[in-house]
Symmetry: C2
């Protein structure tokens, strides 16, 4: 079915697959947006810390940025996925508010608190209330193109926020890493696109393996744990499929012994494990021993080797494979990946409270 | 079966239920340990931030402390669940290393980095290498009693670390909250103990509901998300049961639409939702609308009202109910809750690398 291009077009009414196929172009455009952004107002300050605000895909952009910079940055990085800023985020901190629509109520609430506390603020959105907040308070904004599902706009949400940290001297991002990541995404886009048939297309192949199983995803603390969380969310949103994730080494302290009872249920699961060739001997041993101990309780275990040299190339290419797999899985199941009706219903109910 | 005290004794060979039944005494003893601890060396400093290091149950102690203090504390709080400290944890920071055995390799590794960086250090352990590190580097230690499973020692792991923050003037902990929490745990211990029969014992009742279903647990960002994670881990470790968790409002941005495909699998799930009477109208609406949207795909949905006025009483009492339920669930399934063989096997394999 995944090689029937007419059928794909029938199901994918809002063109999610095309959005994913054009991810490389989105990254290029996002880099240009970053270059043209006016960030002078937040450049040159020595911040007390950085707090990222964002939910869902925007929160994922924050997660990946923290994972990329946490071994090099001099100031604390806090991620807020809720309505309220922790008390220690205060004047002297940089608050980066990310929301695709600009109307995410949790992010608006926490951004309001940041304004009250006199934090420096960088807003990334395509419009909405956050744009108004930025304009009326004379705060720095990176405005990104609208019209996509937020999860399909991850290039816009992530790349300008990340690159801005270099421009304002908060983090150092080697341009070599950026070039490597872009080249790798370009190469993979050629391999994952719909015209490449199932027997040669790694994204289609993986979707076919997953089809009737409930996926669980493992990564390793830091970069690949974040990628695992992204894929969990993509399976939820694009494929309308229940899915959970966890990370090494933390899962070795609890979840590893959970794979014992209810085997008749977990035999219908598929475990996807992101593997990094640079994971180190102790993590490698943890993963391999763990998989040996638990595999008999799971329908299938699939290890996904992560490509790339730099952290950025690894993160983006692993994420990109997952994004494509989640769209193909939706199409295989005959589901339009774009609509998220339950979320729309919930938002309508919340709007009634205003 | 849960009212057959001889049968319980047969299965629970290492006495996990008794450990849980004595949680109130453990908290009292833990408070005394905190009072007697010599913390002068770390008192009076103005720290740049606090980093908590700990895996599994020790990491949970850190999670709950962060959730309790994050709305009142003046300095950043970072939780590390892995081998490495982020670069921003540096001289001037207080690093709190928590490991029940004192031999958790991730925590030892990150503690070593904290020493190299000249951080101030507080170690909480029952012995092991971390005790040696504390003694030989003249660092502050709170030594707790050994001989339990780490998850059964949560009173020792959590309470002294939390109370120490008050003593060293990093956080203000109202003694009224402590008294309320202790009183509530004492009351609940009377209700959850094995002699109270199934029809009157909320912990046994809940275990009976869960028995043949795969539990998923929802909390709300902050305190109850942490309690949900604790219960997930307790089901994994005590009940040897696969289980995952998530939190409002983040799950409304992804997981909510995941409950669509694979209904034949998720009909065997049970969803437990911690509810706080003070959750606020928007969270209340989120939870109620979400449950309405997803319940037809789930075998059973059970809401667990959280008792108590203070955050501390809420957190400890909700956790305590979950801990007791996980032990009763193990016993119901005929499983000794104490041994965690897969974790022992893994540790033995890791030891071969040394």
């Amino acid at each position: 079915m995944l090689d029937d291009l007419d059928r794909i077009k029938d199901i994918d009414k809002e063109g999610m697959l095309e959005v994913e196929e054009k991810f490389y172009s989105q990254l290029l455009e996002a880099r240009e947006i970053a270059k043209k952004s006016k960030l002078e107002k937040i450049k040159g300050s020595k911040f007390g810390g950085i707090a990222f605000l964002g939910m869902g895909g925007s929160g994922f952009a924050s997660d990946i940025i923290k994972a990329l910079i946490k071994d090099d940055i001099d100031i604390p990085v806090e991620i807020v996925k809720g309505y309220n800023l922790p008390s220690f985020v205060k004047v002297g901190w940089l608050v980066v508010s990310i929301s695709y629509s600009g109307n995410t109520e949790e992010t608006i609430s926490a951004t309001g608190q940041a304004l009250e506390r006199g934090c420096e603020i960088l807003i990334i959105c395509s419009g909405g209330k956050l744009e108004s907040i930025a304009r009326s308070n004379n705060k720095t904004i990176i405005k990104i193109p609208s019209g996509l599902q937020p999860r399909g706009a991850i290039g816009y949400l992530f790349f300008p926020a990340y690159l801005a940290l270099d421009y304002i001297d908060v983090a150092k991002i080697p341009s070599m890493d950026i070039e490597e990541a872009l080249d790798l995404i370009k190469e993979k886009a050629g391999l994952y696109r719909r015209e490449v048939e199932s027997d040669k297309n790694p994204a289609k192949k993986l979707a076919l393996k997953i089809l009737n199983k409930l996926p669980i995803i493992y990564g390793t603390e830091g970069l690949l744990a974040v990628v695992a969380y992204r894929l969990k969310c993509e399976f939820n949103e694009n494929s309308k499929t229940p899915c959970w994730c966890n990370e090494f080494p933390e899962l070795n302290h609890n979840e590893t012994v959970g794979w014992e009872r209810l085997k008749e249920i977990t035999k219908k699961f598929i475990l996807l494990v992101f593997r990094d060739k640079d994971e180190g001997l102790r993590i490698k041993t943890r993963i391999e021993v763990t998989l040996n101990l638990i595999k008999e309780n799971i329908g299938e275990v699939v290890e996904i080797p992560v490509e790339g040299k730099s952290k950025l190339a690894k993160a983006l290419s692993a994420m990109y494979l997952g994004d494509m797999v989640s769209v193909y899985l939706a199409l295989l199941a005959g589901i339009d990946p774009s609509p998220v009706k339950k979320i729309q219903t919930l938002k309508a109910e919340l709007a009634k409270l205003n």
